[in-house]
Symmetry: C2
Subunit: 163 residues, 2 copies
């Protein structure tokens, strides 16, 4: 395969792999009866410990109104809990409940095992190489997103031509 063809194939493979990841998340969300947005928020809640509603809105790009709904549903499903902030009582701190690990863990196992079965075949050196590549790609993507947002935004056009 030529170098050019290799790069084209690699770009497609990356998009496909990314898509599979999304698809897996959607499937997991469906299985536990919440939507993808709520699962993404739950991921942030788990990763970034007790987090305020406002921060959650900021990292997900949702409005605070939408976040209120997200937290309501996560609470109702038993995956998260609201607490008042100790010193600033306007704030609401959201944290994950034990049910998350118990119910979400098993659902991520097939993916973890799958990734493991692939990765376990590589040497430490190869894994380090892969980690480096992924990090660089993420960084490049972040830069590209910024670039896209920074770029002149042409004439404002309505979302769709009127009904």
């Amino acid at each position: 395969m030529s170098r050019d063809a290799l790069i084209v194939a690699l770009n497609r493979a990356m998009r496909d792999a990314s898509g599979q990841g999304v698809l897996y998340s959607q499937t997991v969300a469906e299985r536990i009866g919440i939507n993808s947005t709520d699962l993404e928020c739950l991921d942030f809640i788990v990763l970034r410990g007790p987090i305020s509603a406002g921060e959650l809105a900021a990292v997900t790009g949702l409005t605070t109104g939408a976040i209120t709904g997200v937290i309501d549903r996560l609470e109702r499903a038993g995956f998260a809990r609201r607490d008042r902030h100790g010193s600033d009582r306007r704030k609401v701190l959201v944290q994950a409940m034990p049910a998350v690990k118990r119910r979400l863990g098993p659902l991520f196992q097939p993916m973890e095992r799958g990734a493991m079965s692939v990765l376990s075949k590589y040497s430490d050196k190869e894994l380090a190489f892969l980690l480096d590549v992924f990090s660089r790609l993420s960084e490049a993507a972040a830069t590209a997103i910024t670039e896209l947002n920074t770029r002149a935004k042409g004439p404002t056009k309505s979302r769709y031509t009127r009904k």
Copy 2:
């Protein structure tokens, strides 16, 4: 870094990279004034040539009713066109319009350049290695999704796995 830590870091890096890809798509969609679902469908339309509405529903996991709306919006925005199937007049074939390449191309350039700036530093051998890894990961993910759906309790609706 220990091997275990390496693998944990890699898993997180993969999720992050996947997320960046999604975020990029959302940004592109916003920039051209359509939603992410419509852009995903448009990608299929571009890749898989003239495709019937039903097939589009099958590969995306949307209902045919939703696909009708998607095609309506893509048509109104000038990105796609409906045609009657030659021999089976129940079918509607959807194909991309030239405007897609013209208007979408530039928006994907920052990402392409970013990926290129990373990938260009590697040897052919390294690129081949990466392509192999991505392919294996995609395949493992597909298997994991199937596994997850197989374990499902109720009737399962899945994307991409349907024929």
